[in-house]
Subunit: 388 residues, 2 copies
Amino acid sequence: MKIIQQDFSVRFTYPVIFTEHLFSIENQSFIQLFPNSTTKAARVFFVIDSEVTAAHPTLVSAIAKYMDHFPQLEQIHVPLIVPGGEQCKNEPKWVDKILEMTSLHGIDRHSYITGIGGGALLDMVGFAAAISHRGIRHIRIPTTVLSQNDSGVGVKNSVNSFNKKNYLGTFAPPYAVINDSDFLLTLHERDWRAGISEAIKVALIKDLAFFERIEQDAEALASRQMPPMQTLIWRCAEMHIQHIAGGDPFESGSSRPLDFGHWAAHKLEQLTKYEIRHGEAVAIGIALDSTYSMLKGMISEADLNRILTVFAKLGFDIFHEDLLKKGENGTLSVINGLHEFREHLGGELTIMLLEKLGKGKEVHEMDTDLIEKSLQLLQKQHYSQQMA
Amino acid sequence: MKIIQQDFSVRFTYPVIFTEHLFSIENQSFIQLFPNSTTKAARVFFVIDSEVTAAHPTLVSAIAKYMDHFPQLEQIHVPLIVPGGEQCKNEPKWVDKILEMTSLHGIDRHSYITGIGGGALLDMVGFAAAISHRGIRHIRIPTTVLSQNDSGVGVKNSVNSFNKKNYLGTFAPPYAVINDSDFLLTLHERDWRAGISEAIKVALIKDLAFFERIEQDAEALASRQMPPMQTLIWRCAEMHIQHIAGGDPFESGSSRPLDFGHWAAHKLEQLTKYEIRHGEAVAIGIALDSTYSMLKGMISEADLNRILTVFAKLGFDIFHEDLLKKGENGTLSVINGLHEFREHLGGELTIMLLEKLGKGKEVHEMDTDLIEKSLQLLQKQHYSQQMA
């Protein structure tokens, strides 16, 4: 037996740009991404979320005008409009449609596929781009709070298969990400709010000052003021980007340090048949793991109250009745969810809890009695909030 | 406009192991790849080329015995046997079948998918593994000369789609590669020979000493002696591995320095409807570009003769009549192939030629008259060899 050891590193870089009025002719955010070639235009294909085109009826024509204006740019075909939301990840036809377009229009590794939409649409478009020609350059323009501050700035893509969320996918850093806050103006109330929970999550486990900023801004955020939302998205995206770069970008290990509040959230989304938003489920998952941290003596009751108060001010529910559903084995489904999460991690459980506000602590087991007590406490708190 | 610049590197390492009698109980090559855990067995799923199981009828039972012998190993289901060759990359059902197995048997990111077969089968299995769960660990056991010294030790996977070769795929370094020379014993004559052309290719553009070694060993290689073949595969694989690590592993640029002889080879494969092997086409492509290099005054006639003599000793044809086919535009199809290659590279042509034996030189244009002259010279040489 003889061995040659292969060993190399690949550097990945991409800008995450924050702007407004992206497709105004005077905005340089998009055009500056491309080589300024006089001989060869950059060919760009757009895939857009139908909820975005519905809320922004002039978007498609603004893009056409922008692409026409610059001789360095060439739009490939007209944009493909895809119904956004989880459904576009469930139906293989959308990935197939994008692949077909790449073949029909010669969209190659020197071309660009730009996705504009929520996290689900970007996941799906990113997957199609990643597997065509071993990776077509992919530009992401996230249009929701959640995708602008979290998934959209990261390196993952996916679609659902075999009734399993994100079953197929790759790690594929985008060519660039552009966050245009104009898209947030037309979000539904629930989507505006839901994305904030990922910011609260990173603040609680990593950055007390950021958490205190969210506390101060809670009313302004609840009344949909843009400047505090821009600040929140910037800082949350920045922490997410730093986390990816500083850790294990393609998740070769099994630690998932950003999954605070997520084990229960994943199960709750499934239990409610995805009627609640991911961000809404994460808020409840954070409330649960924070309550558990308090009962474990890791944080004080006062700390817990600060957390629950922020959620209340922002209009989040901190409890959902489906958390009390029982599985076929007679156990609470959410406890079964804990075991499923353990399997998902490959056998060893790692759960992030709080050791103080702004600092998470990983543990490797959870006390199921204490989880049940946490649920009861949260339920009580929830109904007293409802009555107030 | 504000920007956060993401910037990180990901390190990839994997061993390429050279051995014999891989699945004998006393062989450590396979078992040593896995953690020596007493609590949790490594779960491994095998996908095997049907040509390999036909030539090695005891392989499946040897694997079962090996997996049974070690408590740290657990075989998932029985091996999936897939018809090898290009056809398994054309039919989506094989990727789908592997994905279905991952779902049915809980094959996750902590499990392993091992492919055993020729380059086409490994490309297909690697693609299925790369897109499940954002990448299941993938072990490659190449069974042909070509896959052991070239594609199998690299980082690419693919399937064909829209009638285009390698249309879908990713860059995904394997978990490990194991080259067992026993598999070479049963290769067809043509496959034994065809894989040698990639070794001649890297030798000619990078390593005169290696080329001279192949010259010395040519008769021994032609008579299927194993030691010179093991030496050839080792050195060729080593150079391929070094090239990947030293250059642009995921091909973000457009240079393809290892594509010596390949522009004409790709076209010839297509013109012959894949009746000639890739390696056979590469030999002809090398003969053509070497002849062109001589006519351009870059190498001497004596140098060219050394190259053509090695091919002749090994039993390669250095010409194929389909090179004289004309396209719909009245031009030689192979010249059209040059333009297609330019498009494939994204507009700028880069072709590797020879400035001396053991040293390549990239050029950015080719003289079509000189290509035609090269073809005539090769044709003449070919028929004089045939007569001899």
